[in-house]
Structures are given as C-alpha cells and as structure tokens.
Amino acid sequence: MALFSYPRSMATAITHYCPGCTHGVAHRLVAEVIDELGIAERTVGVAPVGCSVLIYNYFNVDFQEAPHGRAPALATGAKRARPDLVVFTYQGDGDLASIGTNEIIHAHNRGEKFTTIFVNNAIYGMTGGQMAPTTMPGQVTSTSPMGRDVAQAGYPMRVCEMLATLRTPGYVVRCSLHTPQLVIQTKRAIRRAFDLQLENRCHTFVELLSTCPTNWGMTPAKALDWLHENMLPYYPLGVFKDPDQADGQAPVIPQPDPRCSHAH
C-alpha cells in the first residue's frame, strides 16, 4: 500500500520549478483539497503569467490560461457563466499585486464566488528576479540592485490588508509555507476557502508566503530562514476577513511585528 502518493487531481509530471521552490508544496495542497472534496470533475483552474504559467501541466483538472494579471476577470466570467463549476485562480505577486491589482480588488469587492491562491515570494521569478510590489525594503533584485529604495518604489504592498478594508464579505487569509506546521495550517485555510466557495458564500483569498531560492540567491534552507526573518514580521499571518464575522463587527486584523524595522 502506498503511504505517500500523488493526489489524484495532480498529474504525475516532473515540474519545471527550481529546487527548493515552494510552488510544488502549494500545488500539492490545492490538489489534496480538491481530492478531499471530490470536486476534480467540476473544477476549473485559471493559470497566471509568471513561474506558474504551466500549472495546467501539473493538475488533472480543466484549466484556462489568462493574460498577465487578468485571472480574476476570467474566473469571474467562468464562474458567472457556470456557477456549478468550482473555479480557482493561482497567481504570483507580479501577476496579482502589480499588473492585476485592479482585477483582484474588484473581483473581491463584487464578491465573486471563486477562490484565489496568491503566491507571494517578494520577487518576479519567471523573468529572472526583478523587483515586485511585494519586494522587501532594501531587498536586492535585478531592478533594485542597490536594494529596494522605499523613497522611490514605495513600501511593499500588503494585499490581504488592502482587501480587508473592503466592506463586501469575503475570506482573506495569509499563510506561510516555510515550516511543516505552517504548511498544515495553510492546507486548512485552502480547505476553508474551497468550502466557502462550495457554499456559494464569497470570494475567498489565500495568500501564501513563499520562497524563491534561485532569484533570492540562497540555498533552499537559507531561503526559508530569510522568509521567517524578513517577510514574516512585515506580512503577519492570520485571517483578515471571514464571512462568519457578524455584519459591522470589526475583524481582528493581524498586525505586523512592531520590532520589524520595515513595519512603520
């Protein structure tokens, strides 16, 4: 008996991801949730532009490939046209927090009944390590060779916090993939997102703090530490919005670590 095997909704393909990249873990968690809910036959994924553009090769569910940043608009069209389908977008931080900011804000604000998996690794991966809206202050990338200068490029964008300001009910949560315990928590959050979609409740948004060892220029293990030390204080984990909050009740919004020098 196989104790550990591929989820059924995951294809047994070899991925193109770099060693130590957390996309593989994120893919697997989504696939496990799809399996547990038994929804593979009615699930449609929407692929982004970025490292995970080829995600459709790694899943055994129908997939649409969106223009850069437009995945939430495609998902809106697909879910409205076929509400019986389970629709999710899988987007990186360049795709979602830069070119597609408008689409994600408005899809969330309309309460579109699909799920967004947002992979935040603080850098553009596919194009080779350029500064993203989520890049940390002082972080060196190929387009911020002296480190991100917040006087020129502003501070990293916190998408969960931004979406939490919108009145429309939704599920907004930030998780991280850098420890086994957090991976298990992440899966619970993804499960809740899909559950809420199946209940036709609201837009559900799961941010995953992730690593990019290749473009960060670190070993995979060092990258996990770097995430913990640099991203975690600025991007606090937790639930920013939940549809079960009573109307008018202010959510208990996770706060950045006050000791973090980047958090002002």
């Binding site: 593979a40 036959e41 009615r42 699930t43 449609v44 929407v46 692929a47 553009v53 080829l54 459709y56 899943f59 055994n60 569910v61 129908d62 997939f63 649409q64 490939e65 969106a66 223009p67 437009r70 939430p72 608009a73 495609l74 998902a75 809106t76 069209g77 697909a78 879910k79 409205r80 046209a81 076929r82 389908l85 408008n102 689409e103 804000i105 408005h106 309309r110």
Partner: protein, 351 residues
C-alpha cells in the same frame, strides 16, 4: 413578429439575447452605453448574466473566461475601449474560442470625440492586438441589419470558434429605426463542447484553454491551423451588396455602414439628374469582397471610396483593384457624417 421602434444600441442588446447569449460583460463608453443600460434590465429578466466590469480589460477577460467554459458571451464598446480589449481579442483568437465584440465606432485617434466614425477599420481588419490573427468583421448599415448581423455573429463565432466583430458606428448605435427579430436556427453538427471547453473534466481528459506554445514548432503549427481557418472564410463568409451596378454606371462608389446609406441617397439624387452611379457595399470587411470589387471596378472604370475616416478601407479597395485603375478617396473625419449633397458633389467632380 411585428416591427418595433428601437435605438440601434438597444436592438443589438436584444439581438444577442434572441441569439441565445446569456453572458454580457461591459464597461460604459459613449456612444454604445445604451447596450449596457438595456441589458442591465433585460439580461437578468432572460436569466442571464450582466456584469459591469471595472474596465474594458476586465470586461473582455470576463468574456474570455465565460467563452472558455463553452457558453456564449459578448461585450460592446467604442473605439478607445476596443483598444483596451485588443489584448484579450488576440488571446481569444489564439485560444480559438467563440466570442462577439461590438464596436460602435467614434472618431479618433486618442480620446477623439463621441460622434460617429469609421476610423477603426484598420484595427478591426488588420489586427489591433498582437500576433497573426484575424476576426470576422461585419458592418451593418441599418438598425435592422445590426440586429441580423449580431445574431449571425454568434452563429459564426460558434461555428469557427473565433471572435467576431460587429463594426458599427455612432450613427448605427444612436439612431432609432423599426426592427423585426427573426429567429436564426442554431448551428448544426458542431463538435461537442467537451472536446475543447473548460466545463469540468468529467469522464474525459482535462481540457486546457491556452495560447502559450513555448516550442516554436508547436506555435507555428497553431499559426497554420488559424491560417487555414481564415482561408476558409474567403470561400464561405464574404458578404457584400451592390446597388445600381446593372446597366452602365459611370462611376463606382465603395462604402460600408452608415456611409454606404448616405452614398445610396446621393446615387438616387444623381439618378434624377440622369447620372448613373453604382455602389458596392462590403458587409464583411474581413474577409473583404475583393473579387467583387475588382470585377466591377474593371467594368465601370472609375472608383471612389467614401469613408468616415482619413482613408482606411480604400487601401483594401486599391489592393483589390490593382494600380491600372485609379481609386479616389473622399472622407470626413472628426465625427462628421458626410451629407448626400457633399458626396454627390464629389462624384460629379470625377465624371
């Protein structure tokens, strides 16, 4: 069904519903906004989806997502909005999905104006977006024809799994005329949606709707597949009308849409003076009725193309006719609609 008096934009919205489309995504822009206003009430009444998107980018991508599930979807806009949608149109054409785009053209370039124009001919027929793709482009000359071509557009989009564009203008969108909605039979013998649409991989392998081909040989294969489809249109989908071309006209006018109607009035007026003038009205702007235009140009000898632009379709007329026959051009731009008298004067000057 009896005729009803309707504004062009509203009639286009109703035509989409009569064609069976239940997914409309839009963004307001003059002079097409009445389509959105009409469907905001009518689409929910018909059990369909109406979504006012945050931008033309989003509206066109909602069409993309809906079309990818195998459902009929469309959007309407006007010139600057179509520029924004052109990215998506390229993707939809590459991914071979059915979708309908309506452009109620206004004068450009840039923000231009809000009055009628025909200055998006190049954009509609030569690309607009990036890459080797084509649209079927249909140009109505009346509200009735706008209804018929809109309904036809959905059938053609499904048949060829390709975006179809209705190229109207501010005049077609804004004027009121009596219209009749006649049923259009559904397409027959199309492949099962399960062979291509992302509607759930039940009892079949997954379907992927995509336009990325990293292997150059596979991308070129897709280019050839698309080209073969477009070649077929030149055999099956050329549409045009002629007016007063029998007999021995002294000059042939080529015009489409609203301008063609104005030209036909000018031709009637000139007939009163004893002058016989012919008119060719391309209805499909792509594929362009080159053969018909060339054949008549050879017989009649003199050609004048009239457009509400600085001269766009005239390039296709010249390409069709060749260099041995002179093709003249007269156009008004800026949102100005030429009068029949103005056109008649231009014709007289050339006789």
């Amino acid at each position: 069904m009896a005729k009803v008096l309707m504004k062009g934009n509203e009639a286009i919205g109703e035509a989409a519903i009569r064609a069976g489309c239940r997914n409309y995504f839009c963004y307001p822009i003059t002079p097409q906004t009445e389509v959105a206003e009409y469907l905001a009430r009518r689409m929910p009444e018909a059990g369909g989806n109406f979504v006012q998107a945050e931008s033309e980018l989003a509206a066109s991508n909602m069409v993309f997502g809906a079309a990818a599930t195998g459902e009929m979807a469309f959007t309407t806009s006007s010139s600057p909005g179509i520029s924004l949608m052109s990215e998506t149109i390229s993707y939809i054409a590459a991914a071979q999905l059915p979708a309908v785009f309506v452009n109620i053209v206004r004068g450009g370039p840039g923000l231009g104006g809000i009055l009628p124009g025909q200055s998006d001919y190049f954009q509609a027929t030569k690309g607009g977006g990036h890459g080797d793709y084509r649209l079927l482009v249909l140009a109505p000359a009346s509200v009735q024809e706008a209804v018929e071509l809109t309904m036809l557009a959905f059938r053609l989009a499904e048949k060829y799994r390709n975006p179809v564009m209705i190229l109207g203008d501010g005049m077609i969108g804004q004027m009121m005329e009596p219209v009749e909605f006649k049923d259009l039979p559904p397409n027959e013998g199309l492949p099962d949606k399960n062979t291509w649409a992302t509607c759930g991989a039940k009892d079949r392998p997954k379907n992927i709707v995509k336009s990325l081909f990293l292997d150059p040989l596979l991308l070129e294969k897709n280019n050839h597949e698309l080209a073969a489809k477009y070649a077929l249109w030149h055999e099956l989908e050329i549409r045009c009308e002629t007016y007063n071309c029998e007999g021995d006209p002294k000059l042939m006018v080529v015009a489409y849409g609203t301008t063609a109607r104005i030209c036909s009035t000018a031709i009637d007026d000139l007939k009163q003076e004893g002058l016989e003038i012919g008119l060719v009205r391309p209805i499909s702007l792509y594929p362009f009725p080159s053969r018909k235009v060339a054949e008549l140009a050879r017989r009649i000898g003199k050609v004048l193309t009239v457009e509400m632009s600085m001269g766009q379709m005239v390039e296709d007329v010249r390409a069709a006719v060749g260099h041995d026959i002179q093709v003249d051009f007269f156009g008004r731009a800026g949102g100005i609609v030429p009068s029949p008298d103005e056109v008649a004067e231009q014709i007289r000057k050339r006789l």
